[in-house]
């Protein structure tokens, strides 16, 4: 065992101290707002309003959560978003894999043309109005399908999937399969898909989070409240301060407003729960995803 041991110089000690100090500062700046949401959501609204909730919850209450559970629109939005996310992600992954496979084949003659065809769309698009007119002409306005069809394939994701297939699935497998008489079709379903679990997890993560957080498509293409995704309902409550009065029939306007504020904190948490639950499991995948993506464009 020959280890080179070098004494830490004074400069390095200063550096390390500064480094830990700055990173701790970054940690607090990012973490505190998130932590504050949690403690505020279970504190007495009046205490939150008067700035008494700083480090720990004050007079713990679950009233805000109770109100959220009684608020029907939220659950309609939740249901819709779950459906859009599930179905949309499934379609996304399937179509992305289908596109990426031929592009990953070394001897595929149309590769270059198809790549150019895809990359053009990354830099040039028709813009809001022409796209809106296409959706309208297809009869997809105010139709739930618009939420899963528009944006069905993301070019960047096709590129990272292609690189993944090129780099991790050995060419010999394809040769062996062809000798055994397998077609591209059989090879794709029996060999490529099972070997691509890691990249499919990455795709599920990227596409899934995008669906979960999407409010733009709903805003533009949907009119019917019953089709609204959760984010659009959230926008009404969080951003536009729009809480139906029947929900909060209270004489005391001040107390009503306090309760609405409390509900907002809880709502942020309720709406983020699915992401919070899967976050620890997916962390290793998104690092992988970015690494694969950065290998080469």
């Amino acid at each position: 065992m020959k280890t080179i041991s070098i004494k830490r110089s004074r400069e390095d000690i200063i550096f390390d101290t500064m480094n830990y100090f700055l990173l701790s500062l970054a940690l607090i700046v990012v973490l505190y707002p998130l932590y504050f949401i949690i403690i505020a959501s279970i504190s007495n609204p009046v205490a939150v309003q008067s700035g008494k909730v700083i480090f720990v919850p004050v007079q713990v209450t679950f009233e805000g959560y109770k109100k959220i559970f009684e608020y029907k629109d939220i659950w309609i939005g939740y249901r819709n978003t779950l459906m859009y996310t599930f179905l949309g992600t499934l379609i996304n992954i399937f179509l992305t894999m289908l596109m990426a496979y031929p592009l990953s084949r070394k001897k595929f003659s149309g590769k270059r043309v198809v790549m150019i065809f895809l990359i053009i769309t990354m830099y040039f698009n028709g813009g809001l109005i022409p796209t809106y007119l296409v959706v309208k002409n297809l009869g997809l306005l105010n139709n739930w399908m618009v939420m899963v069809v528009v944006g069905a394939i993301n070019v960047f994701n096709v590129i990272i999937t292609r690189s993944f297939m090129e780099n991790t699935i050995p060419e010999e497998l394809y040769e062996a399969a062809t000798i055994d008489g397998s077609s591209h079709f059989q090879y794709f379903f029996k060999v490529v898909l099972p070997l691509s679990k890691a990249i499919m997890a990455v795709l599920a993560l990227y596409y899934g989070v995008a669906h979960w957080n999407d409010y733009f498509k709903g805003l533009i293409y949907l009119k019917d409240n019953n089709l609204y995704p959760l984010q659009l309902i959230l926008r009404g409550i969080l951003v536009q301060n729009d809480v139906s009065d029947t929900m909060m029939d209270m004489e005391d306007a001040e107390r009503r407003q306090a309760l609405v504020e409390l509900m907002k904190y809880g709502l942020i948490i309720v709406s983020s729960i699915p992401v919070l639950i899967i976050y620890p499991f997916m962390q290793k995948y998104f690092i992988k995803g970015v690494m694969i993506g950065s290998v080469k464009g």
Binding site: G126, L128, I129, F185, Y215, S271, I287
Partner: protein, 317 residues
Amino acid sequence: MKVISLNENKNRHIFFSKKTFITLRKDYQLYLFLLPGIIYFIIFHYIPMYGVQIAFRDFIDIKGIWGSPWVGLKHFERFISSYQFWRLMINTLGISFYQLAAGFPIPILLALMLNQTVNKRFKKVVQTVTYAPHFISIVVLVGMIQMFLSPRNGFVNVMLMALGKDPIVFLAKAEWYKTIYVLSGIWQGAGWGSIIYLAALAGINIELYEAAKVDGASKFQIIRHIDIPGIMPTAVILLILSLGRIMNVGFQKAYLLQNDMNLKSSEIISTYVYKVGLIEAQYSYSAAIGLFNTIINIILLVSVNRLAKKLTETSLW
């Protein structure tokens, strides 16, 4: 024998060569794989590109794109000479450059610092926490901003008041809009942005570090002479990409953060396109503004890429 080969020759001229025919037959399944995707891109990307021509017409709904009369550059002229034009340009470019100047270096700094952290556990905690805001939706982020900056009870103003200062109605003040937009963006994106630099740093040859240590380099010198040159190509590529998007300030957050009081500095091209196009239903005018925006972006991307190629030998194509 001869006849057959003659026939083949003939075929080659009339149809396509035998070789192409064989590859097409061999690859036909691959084209089938591509078919759904290609149809998707044609419908939702290429047809709208073709539809861009409504920017040069006066679009009339019942007549459709084909039937509407040509009007040339009328809508572009109207936009450029409108009183909104400079305000929109200045706001769009202002937010974008502010965002770039403040936001671009921070993920790099974060990655360099994390890379030098000896304590792996601490490093992991910082990473987990700083990535998290990336997963928060824009709606929730804006909701949080509104609550935290609320003049009466947001914790920012509570702190200001505790310091004996007057509360500030941040979101009603046009001069605060850009700062709020940019800082919240950094809060949300810096951690996530650092991943790609950490990946680049992980790819640096370890022997370089060892050699530097033997030579007695300090950590600061290692960062300066090994880390920074090591991540330079990645940084340049990302910089080119962000400069190419300089006119594309995201609609979503800008629109959600807007209100009548801060409109003076918050109205940008994308929010204006939405209002004029979908709320006021002036399709052609709105499409012209959108196209104007895209063209500037492409010009920027191409020229920045050319410049980068000349200066740093790194480029997108």
